[in-house]
Symmetry: C2
Subunit: 337 residues, 2 copies
């Protein structure tokens, strides 16, 4: 019998997940029923939101032991009983962490066809949902003005790196914040940011002030917590803050808080929450614009890739600890079977 | 010699001010120099921002013993050496808490001429800076849609009562939050709010939920702190929050904080800081619109008035304790001398 390896929950993580919180399980390879397609997954995307999906703070429900971990893959259609799809098509599917996935070919929220013009795994990163998230913030919620200072945290990550490069393409001055010298070099040398501040140095807020002498016009926040507080203190008048994530707080229970709301009034600032789903309808427009930038060399990408579904748990733990650099990808299978 | 009674700082208040933190002093009545006007103050406006002005967290500097308390009065020009003003003109002046004030007749930030169409003291309240503050929030930063639920805290105060009535005039459903049954009755019976919740009752958040079954589309926050947290929890999707003041925290040192930022992302909400100075250029437009509503009976007002400058300190303490109801005014002198 053809098998389908899966990563399942072994036990609910406490705090930062450990590899032992996951287990490798298997089921029979699914078959495509009427109207369905069968997808052979090629790349698995690891993303911070999956921490909340496990705990039930994001998505439908808290996972139980044996449940497949929620997640997104890029794969190849190997069997189709749906008119929109044929074998060989490339799709992005909300399949969970597993090798094969059968799904209704018309389920818009679960499957999306790709016409690749760039390396396939980018459609899970810079040209996929993380990139669309950045697009929503930079293009819609808080577009920076020409020459304005745009700051983004988690600057070397898949959302932050695209946000900064989109802002740069719109004529802003871009300052990144990241957690290591290596990540900062990536931001300035590969992604072309004007500056990057390593928040793990003792005097990082002084370095931030120095990098933003006119204050911060737009802050794209992927981190929350103390970093948000520090950035609120540096806002320029009429500054704008996009709240995209609270990765500093995904592994703790309790509050998403800020202790520094005062500048929001004093600087007549605006703070907006960003949820990528609101921009799904703009996916084609985003991919077109981002692909053009990528072809011009203005949208660089960086991956942290491992091979083999059995290595997904350790790779996710690395992501949750902030130890990865770039977009976390697990190669599940060769691109050509 | 003609005297000029003043309220001066006796000592820096700790926490909620006490009457003994103030002293009544006097100086010679000032004379109008070249280009100046001399104003006989009639009404003194007491406002929460004055607490910050004393401490130096708002305005130019922390006050020292003997300094006149910062504040705004409506008065009559009694002497003019400036072409824009003549004796008998009514003006609003940033005079501080005193009986007489001499000022450059062209100092736009310090003196503003009024052409009264309503009772004079309203130009310090519903038709003055508190009303303009409400206008900035309701008309500019977060206009409610037709039938949307608009919630305002400190609902019986001079900003909150106008904000709610402007929102009502724009077709919103208006829910107030206030600190007593008396204030809530004022909000619903005099100001025409659809509902009002007394936050000093044990089950006030349940009452809030019941009053906002579809969630809160716009929250005009005059209070901050735990009330802001509670309202963030009730936001509807794409809700908007205007941060206008943190009166819950004016008498404490330390953070302007929220422990409930999560809904900002989850509800794709927007939070904006409001500073009335940004809308000074719209003063004439605001007064025209608000006067029209007042004449139609759609902008009710309520004052908490005492007479005599010597009673200003105790009246301010009452305001700071939230024990006053309506706009706090001190009548310094008869309207007609």
């Amino acid at each position: 019998m053809a098998v389908n390896l899966q990563v399942q929950l072994a036990r609910q993580p406490e705090g930062v997940p450990k590899p032992g919180d996951f287990q490798i399980g298997q089921g029979p390879r699914p078959a495509a029923g009427p109207g369905q397609i069968l997808v052979r997954n090629i790349y698995l995307s690891l993303d911070p939101y999956q921490r909340g999906a496990i705990a039930g703070t994001f998505g439908p429900a808290r996972l139980n032991q044996g449940d497949v971990i929620m997640g997104r893959c890029l794969g190849e259609v190997v069997e189709s009983h749906h008119p929109n799809h044929k074998p060989g098509d490339i799709v992005v599917v909300e399949s969970g962490w597993q090798q094969y996935f059968a799904v209704d070919g018309g389920a818009a929220g679960l499957v999306r066809k790709i016409k690749p013009e760039a390396p396939l795994s980018l459609y899970l990163g810079a040209l996929g949902p993380p990139g669309l998230t950045a697009w929503g913030g930079v293009e819609r919620l808080a577009p920076p003005g020409l020459g304005e200072t745009f700051v983004v945290s988690a600057a070397s990550g898949p959302v932050g790196s695209v946000a900064g490069q989109l802002a740069k393409a719109k004529g802003a001055r871009v300052v990144g914040i990241a957690g290591s010298e290596e990540k900062c070099r990536l931001a300035t040398q590969k992604f072309g940011f004007d500056a990057c501040v390593n928040y793990k140095t003792a005097d990082w807020t002084a370095a931030l002030k120095a990098a933003c002498p006119g204050g911060v016009n737009v802050y794209f926040d992927n981190v929350g917590g103390a970093m948000l507080d520090a950035l609120l203190a540096e806002l320029a008048a009429f500054g704008r803050v996009v709240l995209c994530g609270f990765i500093s707080q995904y592994n703790v229970t309790g509050a998403r808080a800020t202790n520094n709301l005062g500048p929001l009034i004093a600087k007549r600032a605006t703070m907006k929450g960003l949820v990528v789903y609101d921009f799904l309808g703009e996916t084609d427009q985003f991919i077109k614009a981002a692909t053009a930038l990528w072809k011009q060399g203005k949208l660089a990408t960086h991956e942290d890739r491992v091979a083999g579904i059995e290595n997904a748990p350790a790779h996710f733990v690395k992501l949750m600890k902030g130890e990865n650099v770039g977009k976390a990808i697990v190669a599940l299978a060769p691109e050509k079977a």
